[in-house]
């Protein structure tokens, strides 16, 4: 689908011939994330209707206790130091951002009075600044008013390198100024089409100036309130035992009417995913459990008890098999897999094509991942039922054999194909994790039938995913021909960051201590050019078209072989009513959670 067709669709939505939802559905089918679909519509002046809340309680409180179970408990409660999702979830009970991402990928105002857009004058036409209007009458838990000064302070706090905030990436390249008591302007150094990073979602939670003022920079770690959050959220802080317990009680002065419903909230940490699933789904001891990485079969069995249900959210996690475009077996300049080298066999396109035909994504999704995974042909997510028009996947040993035959790879007596003395024998590595080892076995079997021999290797996850420079077994060293994992793609749902890991300036090498994100060592000038264009393209339609093209290029070049689109799995008590979103924290609308009798 090209730009013109996209424009046609937008026009249809404008004319009312096509619903917003269908449009976004079509975007997702094209391999684009829902948020970018929404972004296109918003930029075209089609306002997003806020999702209707079915919140029923008619007074705040009276709901007893909400009990959540995180099998990795939060270790700290300052959102600017939140190392992992667990910490962000813990912080989100007390702190709020200006806006967050709803299930359709729209921005939803929380501390902001409205979402900035070109139409309401919030977003500058040149893409260089954004004005956020803040909600009036919001109070911090200690009674102080929330104002623009707090937002400016968060920017100063996070961008200071001595603070060592993990949010620095979102704040260091912008300027934030107060224009009124309840309005701020963010200025960007260059035109920025995706401006919704600072103050949005998990990385955008706002901490109070009057509490943290004295703890800027290197003094940040001494702040007593790193452990005692004072936020604006629906629940006030009561107690925190790192790794074990987060406890909050109702904020009686919460700015939303009749909210929150529960009198108190408790998040218990520790244990393992299976027993967490059990506690929610089977015995009903807890109301909510997070990140249930448990085999679907077990989840189904627990669910039979009727105490809880599994909620499946489709985000951006894709399990992929990556091909190494550099040579892992020759040392160049003191490193193997040097980006300066070329893979001796994968440089033959036929081999890559054959491998792509040998991954039985359908069976892997169905038998290994169950409800929690869907076969996919795209890097930018797409569910199987709405397969993209431009990309597709298939499993065909026959075709793979044909391709290899015609490329001159002849079977030798041991059944492995060779050409010019090179053997189709590859090392395929991944981390230790039951579904991954099963997937490896399935791929190995198919490859064997096509005359490709795979040697399987599995590395403990703590080693595979570590950033240890000295360890050759990490996924960034990639001292193998093939490897499988789920690349972390970043919280903001815009594809820009997700696509950056294929650019040439992200190439992983010894020079950058293996910190580059282009682990595959693939380099393509067209891709780089398109990425640069998308980075500053202010027309969302053109920008979306660029992302689709980039996705198609990666898929056609077989840079990655997508295996399954993995869902986020959450356990919820049957009586709890909550709206979840794949694009934001599970607690993005904690204030709307309630229990139905």
């Amino acid at each position: 689908m090209r730009e013109a067709e996209l424009r046609e669709l937008v026009a249809q939505v404008k004319a009312g011939e096509l619903s917003r939802r269908t449009f976004i559905g079509k975007m997702v089918a094209l391999g684009l994330s829902a948020p970018i679909g929404a972004q296109i519509l918003n930029a075209s002046g089609i306002a997003s209707e806020l999702p209707k809340s079915d919140y029923k309680p008619t007074k705040p409180g009276g709901g007893g206790r909400l009990k959540g179970l995180l099998w990795q408990g939060p270790t700290l409660l300052n959102p600017h130091f939140a190392v992992g999702t667990k910490d962000q979830i813990g912080s989100r009970v007390f702190y709020e951002p200006l806006a967050q991402w709803d299930p359709d990928g729209n921005l939803f105002p929380i501390l902001a009075a409205e979402i900035p857009s070109v139409a309401n004058g919030g977003v500058a036409a040149d893409g260089r600044s954004v004005i956020w209007k803040l909600k009036q009458g919001v109070k911090w838990h200690d009674g102080e008013p929330f104002t623009a000064d707090d937002c400016v302070f968060n920017w100063e706090y996070a961008r200071n390198p001595d603070t060592a905030a993990v949010t620095i990436g979102d704040y260091r390249d912008i300027t934030v100024e107060k224009i009124e008591s309840h309005a701020i302007r963010i200025t960007f150094a260059k035109p920025t089409p995706f401006w919704a990073r600072a103050f949005v979602s998990d990385f955008g939670m706002v901490i109070p100036k009057h509490v943290f003022e004295g703890y800027l920079g290197s003094k940040s770690r001494e702040a007593p309130n790193n452990l005692i959050p004072i936020g604006t959220g629906p629940y006030k802080f009561v107690e925190f035992v790192p790794g074990d317990l987060v406890r909050g009680e109702i904020n009686p002065n919460y700015y939303l009417e009749n909210r929150p419903y529960f009198d108190s909230i408790e998040l218990k940490g520790g244990g393992d995913a299976v027993s967490a699933a059990r506690a929610v789904l089977q015995t009903g001891e807890f109301d909510y459990a997070w990140n249930l990485q448990v085999e679907d079969e077990i989840l189904r069995k627990f669910e039979e008890n009727g105490k809880g249900r599994v909620v499946i959210e489709w985000g951006v996690n894709i399990e992929i098999i990556a091909l190494n475009f550099s040579d892992p077996w020759t040392e160049a300049d003191g490193e193997r897999s040097s980006p300066k080298t070329q893979h001796p066999i994968f440089s033959d396109r036929a081999v890559r094509d054959a491998l792509n035909l040998l991954v039985d994504r359908g069976s892997i999704a169905k038998f290994i991942y169950g409800r929690t995974g869907a076969a996919t042909a795209n890097w930018l997510n797409a569910p199987e039922k709405v397969t993209s028009k431009t990309t597709s996947w298939e499993i065909s040993i026959e075709k793979a054999n044909q391709i290899l035959d015609s490329a001159g790879w002849a079977k030798s007596p041991d059944g492995v194909r060779t050409k010019n003395g090179k053997k189709l024998k590859f090392l395929f590595q991944t981390s230790i994790n039951a579904p991954r080892q099963k997937t490896q076995a399935i791929v190995k079997q198919a490859c064997q039938k096509a005359g490709i021999e795979l040697e399987l290797k599995s590395v403990p996850a703590s080693v595979f995913f570590s950033s240890d420079v000295a360890n050759p077994d990490t996924y960034t060293h990639f001292y193998a021909d093939l490897q499988m994992w789920t690349p972390v793609t970043g919280a903001p749902p815009d594809p820009e960051q997700m696509m950056e890991q294929f650019t040439s300036w992200e190439l992983t090498s010894k020079a950058n201590r293996w910190q580059g994100r282009n682990v595959r060592r693939w380099r393509n000038d067209d891709y780089d050019r398109m990425y640069r264009a998308a980075q500053s393209e202010l027309d969302p339609v053109k920008r979306a078209a660029l992302f689709i093209e980039m996705n198609n290029l990666i898929i056609k070049e077989r840079v990655v072989i997508p295996v399954v689109w993995r869902a986020d799995v959450v356990g919820l008590s049957t009586s709890i009513r909550a709206i979840l979103t794949p694009w934001d924290s599970p607690f993005w609308q904690l204030h709307d959670w309630y229990r139905e009798a």
Partner: protein, 319 residues
Amino acid sequence: MIKYLTQRLLIAIPSLLGISIVVFTVLALAPGDPFSELATNPNVPPEVQTMLRAKFGLDDPVPVRYLHWLTAMLQGDWGFSFANRINVSTLILQRLPATLLVLGLSQVLALIIAIPVGVGAAIKPYSVFDQIASTLAFIGFSLPTFFTGLVFILVFSIQLHWLPFIFRTDLNVTGWRWYWEEFRQSIMPIAVLGLYQGASWTRYVRSAVLDVISLDYVTTARAKGLCERAVITKHVLRTALIPIVTLVALQMPAIFGGAIVTEQIFRVPGIGSLLINAILANDTPVIMSVTFVFACLVVFFNLIADLLYGWLDPRVSYR
């Protein structure tokens, strides 16, 4: 006595130093990085990780890092947790009560089972009681705690719905209800550890009592016309307890090991689960301190055992 005590304490210093050097080196050589989660997150620029590493001194050579740690430790500064960004001492003090409660009560339970059952079995060896006790004891110490823990959960929580299997620090009840709830949630972890220890100790008590009961002085005591009860408690048990005390003290490290697993299974917020979380997060200062606390406890319990000898057997003198 005082001289003996100081002597023992002085001997403990080199052994603790040795332990700390070994643990520190192993940790430094182990793969993993406290900030690896940041490295994989594209939202976080790589410089942040580099900066954090520099800030927490992770890039210094291992001996330098060890000396830093040691000097701080000697000044009472246990270090600063990378993951929690608070002092390690605060973390450990928060977790210690739960561990001591569960461990202490499980040891009491183990002794309550082991001593009477072991003595009973030894008084009438090869009787029916002895046979049953021995069989149960064998089963008890053959099953690892993580297995019995899961079986207990399946039976008492999932099937019978009698007991909760998630240990909660903040029970939202007061008064007698609180004690009742606390008891209900503690009973499984305590029973798992206590039964395991009790089973093996029963065997030791039995053989220790058997050794003593046939000695001449016991026959003499009986011949004097002392009642059987007095013979057993005053004469037999006191002597038999000497090897048992050594055993209880020396098994403390094993018990802490078992407690780590049990705490994880039942989500007891003790130092065992703190250690596991710290290992998962590669939070070196916390791992260091917790293992060090364990080491200190082991040395301390050994000392207590030595002191108890003197009380149980006045022939042992402190020199």
